[in-house]
Structure formats: structure tokens, C-alpha cells
Symmetry: none
Subunit: 416 residues, 2 copies
């Protein structure tokens, strides 16, 4: 099966946002064994949307559209597809009721235009929206499959994964399914990883070996086609064993979980708690940890000590360590250790981690952008500090600093 | 003039990277007054690239391609375009010399395939690559303009801005440029905003009125065409005045800045500092604030009090307020006030904001997912608390809670 992705939205053509939905769907469709040959972006314009649909129908088995399912006059996707396929439209009653409840619960009068979000095409299957109001739809006509998803990634992703993927599996009967396994790495960069596996990557046939890097993490996906998951995993096993032999110390998971979820899992399993002291990461590590549902069982919180004054006041770092002639300064191994110890003492957590560094754009204390220290304190042990020299813009450095802290925690927590 | 952007690269169709070039070029072309009606992504496949070129020629005045200018066998863009336009190819001698120097300086033998990067089409204009080896080209044939740019953003961006834009200005003589103005809103949702402006939106002609929403913010872009920026703004003014008359209280900026950047600007201008106490937002507000370069001038930091114990220990909220029969609990107006006051006292900031609520997925203290309280404390004033009832997944609720806190801060800080 081959697919074409059509992203609808004038904001994409104006460059106000990037088409990250195209990337997400391409990746997920590839995981299903569906090849994407074209991605198209088109504005909120009925004529041009129709033109894109016509072209896609001429060359793709599956057309996935994102965007244009909202309540406004600009949201035309369902109308255009109905017209294109010569189908009528109807309301999806459960979505209408959900919407009525939603507004009633807020004591707000529902504007009539909101109802547009509950529209389906005659004979289409609804795709539930767990994180928003617009219902998605999927249908097959004349051998071509159509799927309409909302534009906001927060709505699109769960809808596609929880409802779109099962629907696609339903229409893909007869294709030999893909079986894949993901290995996730921490503490090693993408280039170093590829370098260590280059002979395997260049000689790959079955399973295929696809390295991925995103958001400070590195992963490898091993993929084959097999009638059953067991058969597929058996074919993957020898390559996985080879990779583990070379890089096993960096593998923290054999499925697609984040490093922060893994660290929280290890903490929960051992009944331990964690607190943080964040300087240059500015709350990002806490945000990443609290993004994981159930994190409150192991993550207590901590301090964001962006200023020296708060490093002193909230974590008890002496001002003499931070400022003045001969002081190691805020960005130093010593301050990382003091922060970790300080927050450990003040929170009664079992483990504490600190991050201090230079996120840029300008150097600080005469220290270069990208220099970061991570401190790790465990109750009853000597605290340790680690230096990281990285690069990139502010956002990248914050992320790498937070991921490095998680890597150091994972290293300490992982079962030996 | 209207344009189509064709991004070439199988890695884009596999979802390994997002088409950020498409976003960048769309934005820059819009700034030049060039409408982009379509973006297309196509793999490293000569047949499908040709198909994309043919379609684009049928509907666009300008075709900008990115990617496929490198030295490998996969890099086909120049060959495909030469064949498509029936033109020969030649070497760009200065690029060849630059390449020879580049390899000589590194003491490396230049592989023959590298020369492919110096290829131009007969009769095309070279676009210099200041940050890489592949030369770009631009040409006009039968009234259609073509521009080929490299794929890596660090090469593509300077080439486009320094050489592509001047080339385009040269061929655009006579066109009336676009003038646009963005209004950014806080404290009002997308639907409510559109509802209040629906008559203007439906009757729009010149300027056009384009609403859009992303990441918890709502904006409107007003756009017209005019010979000068002054003339354009004069045509935009009456519509802007009308919108301000209806919704002025929600407009925090007339350019594309985030709410957090605006709040930090107001703090800096008044020489004030801010500290935070984050419960359900879990560090996200701090992360958003510290994403803004220079935030350390106004943002001191604060506490992430994810557990009740840390609300007590780090912000001094009495345990009796948090737990036990009759206690208001962690998610309450009273705790929001105590947190804001506590962090204000402990940090010596001028302003403090607190966020406590239920991010889900499960209710807490018998309170529903999406219930959030924001506390605001200003030195020397009575603290205030605000209730927000929102919805969505964990990530959305955290984001809306953080944006709501920023909105309440902005409301207090904005010049009257």
C-alpha cells in the first residue's frame, strides 16, 4: 500500500508553523509498512484542496488529510471531501452529545458553528478525538482509503495511534505485516552509534536497521515482515544480539519509552523518590518528568534556581561559592554538588539531581555556551558530578542538559 | 506572483526529519508578497520529481526546490531539472575551485563525485553557498522561475536570504508587496474570538483577516498589498481599530511575540522580578520563561512543588491546609494564595505566581481533571486567586494552566 499525506492549512503555507504532522504520519505509516511517496501542503481553499485530492487519488491507495476539521469558516476539509466523493454529510451523535456536555459543564453557551466539528460523511467510520472536539473520519471508496484527522498535533496523534492505526490494520488484511523492535539508547550520540554499527547498517537486508534521533534521544528500529510476531522477533534476534554485544551498556529500553519514563519506572519499582535543582535547564527536566502520568508517585518536585540568589536561598549554596574573586561560580562541578546535596537535604528525597550550565546565547562567568555540570546525590552516598560539553541553541542545550541528567540517574538506578 | 515549494528527500517521506525548509521558505516568500499555494515533498526518485515539477509548472510562477544538490547518486535535482527543461549542464568554475581549495586545505583527496555539487544548468544564475559546497541555481524559462537550493537548513537559509531574495526581487519588478500586521490575544479562546469577529471575517476583502491558534495562544493576521508599509498600515488601521474596540482588553501584542516574552518584557521595563510556585504545571511555566533569551534579568526561578510535602517544606503551606478532614486541599483557591505568598516571601521577588490543579489523567482530591487555580502575589498588595476550568490531556492542561498564569500576570502588568 502507498500513501499520500495532505496537510491542509493556510498557516502552513504562510510558514507560521512547520508541518510536523507530515513527519509524524510518515514515520508511523512507515512503521505499518505503508510507503509515503508524496506529502502535500495546501491552504484553506476548496478548489486547491480538491485539486490535491484528485491528484492524490490518481497515485495513492491511502490519502491521509490533516487539518481543517475545526469550527470556523476556514475549516473546509469535510465539506470538500464530501463534495469530491459525492457523499452526503451527517452529524456523529456521540460527538454532538460530548460537545453539549463539554459546554454545559463550563456553563458556556455552545456556538452553533461548533457543531461543524461533529460532522461525518455518509458511510464513514468515526475516529474518536480524546483530546479535542472535532471527530475524525475514515472511509473507503472505489478502492481508495481516506482518513481525515485534526490539525493540532495534540489531537491528531492520539486519534491516529488509537483509532487510525487499528482502522488501517483492518483494511490492510492480506498484506504480510511488519514486525519491528525498537532499541533506545542513552549516553551515546547518533554519529558515534552509527559509527559503531556502520558495517551492520551497510550490509542490512532483513531485518532492516533504521537509526532515529529525536529530542535528545537515539534509537534504532529493527524491522522485518512476518506472519506472526514470534516469527518476526526470531528473525530480528541475531541482529539485536550483535548490537547488544557492541552497545548494550547504552540501551535503556527495547520499546519506545522515553528516558524520563524509564527513570521514573526504576524509581517507583525501588520505592524511591527524586527531587531536582535546575539552573540552566530552567524547569525543563521537571516538565519532562511531570509529563509522565503517575510521576507524582516518585517525583517530589524541587527548585528552579535560575538566579544565584535562589541557589543560595532555596538550596543553601553559600554566596562565596557563587560570586566573588576565586569563587568556582554558578557553573561549576562544586556548585552542581552543593545544589544536589542542598535539595536532597531540604526535600527529604532519596535521590537528587542538579543541573547548572550555560544555555546561551551568551557565555556566562567567562564560561562557554554549552558547558553543563550535572550533580547526583543519593542518600547515604558521596555525591558525584559530571561535566557535559555540548552545543546548539538555547533550547537544544537545555534539552541535552536535562537528558544527560536523566542518563546519569538511569546509570545509577539500572539493575546491574 | 505565486510559488510552489518542492522539498526533495526520501528522509522527509520516511519521517526522519520534518520539512522545516518548507516553513522557512513559506514565511520568507510571504514576506516578499509571494503567495505559496502548495508545498510538496517528494523522494529521491527521478520519475516522481519530474511529476512534481510538471504539476508545479502548470500552476505556479515560481518553483523553489530544496534538497538533492549533494555529491551522492541520490542527489538528482539538477539532472532532473536539466532534463525537464531540455537544457545542458556545465560546471560553475568558481565553485569547482572553491571545492579544490577546501579539500587541499584539509589534505584530503577530492572524490570525483564531489564535482557534481558544482554543476549548473546552461544559462542559469549561480547562487553562492557560504556554508557548504553545493552551488544553488536560479533561472527563468517560458515565464516560470526556478530556484534550486540545498537541503541542509544551515546552507539553504543563508543562500536564500543573501542570494535568492535579491534574485527574486530582480524578477519581481512591478509587483505590489504585501503588508501585514499580527494581533496576539490572551485570555480568550479561538472560538470565542471568531464568534465576536464573525461579521468582519465573513465580510473581509481588503485587508484579509486570518485567525489562527497554536500552543495556547490565539492570533489574527491582517494583510493587504501596498506600495509602502505606511500605505499598507493605513489600509489595515480601520479594521484593526474595529477589532480593538471589540476585543482590545485581550490584545497583548501587535507582532508575533509569545505571551511569556511579553510578560518578561513588561517585568524588565518596570525593573521587577518574578518567582513561581508550580504544582500541576510541573515546571512548564519556568521552562517557557527560561526559553526566552535574557529571561534571567527578570525571572529568578522558584519551586516545583509536585508533592504536598514540598508545598509545605519549600513554600510554607501548612499541612493542615493540604490534608485531613475539612482541609481545602492542594487544589484550592486557598492553597494557590498560600503558595504565591510563600514563594514571594522566600525569594524576595516582586511578583509571584502559583499554579495548582489537576492535570489528569485521574481526578485528585475528588476534584475533576482540568480544574486549576492560579495565585498572583505582588509585594505590598493583597494576593488574588483565579479559577480556570479547562480540559484536554495532561500536556494540554499543563500548557493552558501555564498560559493562564501568564495571562493573569500580563493583566496586572500591562500599562493601563
Amino acid at each position: 500500500m502507498n500513501a499520500e499525506i495532505i496537510a491542509v492549512g493556510t498557516e502552513l503555507l504562510m510558514g507560521q508553523i512547520a508541518n510536523t504532522n507530515g513527519q509524524f504520519l510518515s514515520q508511523e505509516l512507515a512503521n505499518l509498512g505503508i510507503n509515503v511517496y508524496f506529502q502535500t501542503v495546501v491552504g484553506d481553499n476548496a478548489g486547491r484542496m480538491r485539486q490535491a485530492l484528485e491528484l492524490a487519488r490518481s497515485r495513492a491507495d491511502l490519502i491521509v488529510c490533516t487539518g481543517g476539521l475545526g469550527p470556523t469558516q476556514d475549516d473546509l476539509t469535510k465539506d470538500v471531501l464530501a463534495d469530491f466523493l459525492g457523499r452526503g454529510m451527517m452529524y456523529h451523535e456521540p460527538s454532538l452529545r460530548k460537545m453539549a456536555d463539554f459546554f454545559a459543564a463550563r456553563g458556556v453557551v455552545m456556538v452553533e458553528s461548533n457543531k461543524r466539528q461533529a460532522i461525518m460523511l455518509d458511510g464513514s467510520d468515526p475516529l474518536a478525538n480524546e483530546t479535542g472536539l472535532a471527530v475524525g473520519i475514515a472511509l473507503t471508496q472505489d478502492g481508495t482509503h481516506y482518513m481525515l484527522l485534526p490539525g493540532p498535533p495534540k489531537e491528531m496523534k492520539p486519534m491516529f495511534l488509537n483509532y487510525g492505526v487499528p482502522w488501517l490494520r483492518g483494511v490492510m488484511t492480506g498484506e504480510v505485516p511488519l514486525v519491528s523492535k525498537m532499541l533506545k539508547f542513552a549516553g551515546i550520540g547518533e554519529s558515534a552509534l552509527e559509527h559503531r554499527l556502520i558495517d551492520l547498517i551497510e550490509a542490512q537486508t532483513d531485518p532492516t536497521i533504521a537509526p532515529y534521533a529525536k529530542e535528545g534521544e537515539v534509537a534504532i528500529r529493527l524491522t522485518t515482515r512476518a506472519a506472526s510476531r514470534e516469527d518476526g522477533l526470531a528473525r530480528i534476534a541475531p541482529v539485536e544480539t550483535d548490537i547488544r554485544g557492541r552497545l548494550g551498556e547504552y540501551i535503556y529500553a527495547d520499546q519506545d519509552v522515553t528516558l524520563e519514563a524509564k527513570v521514573l519506572e526504576l524509581l517507583k519499582t525501588s520505592g524511591r523518590t527524586l527531587a531536582v535543582a535546575e539552573s540552566c535547564s530552567g524547569g525543563l527536566l521537571s516538565d519532562m518528568l511531570t509529563a509522565v502520568p503517575g510521576s507524582s508517585q516518585a517525583f517530589l518536585g524541587g527548585i528552579v534556581c535560575y538566579s544565584n540568589m535562589l541557589k543560595h536561598r532555596l538550596a543553601g549554596v553559600p554566596m562565596e561559592a557563587l560570586e566573588g574573586p576565586g569563587a568556582p561560580g554558578a557553573v561549576s562541578e562544586q556548585t552542581a554538588l552543593l545544589l544536589a546535596e542542598g535539595v536532597l537535604a531540604r526535600t527529604d528525597a532519596d535521590f537528587a539531581v542538579s543541573i547548572t550550565g550555560v544555555a546561551g546565547p551568551d557565555p556566562s562567568e567567562g564560561k562557554p555556551v554549552g558547558l553543563v555540570y550535572v550533580g547526583i546525590a543519593f542518600r547515604g552516598e558521596q555525591p558525584r558530578a559530571f561535566e557535559l560539553r555540548t552545543h546548539g541553541n538555547r533550547e537544544t542545550i537545555k534539552l541535552r542538559a536535562a537528558k544527560h541528567a536523566l542518563y546519569r540517574l538511569w546509570e545509577r538506578l539500572k539493575p546491574v
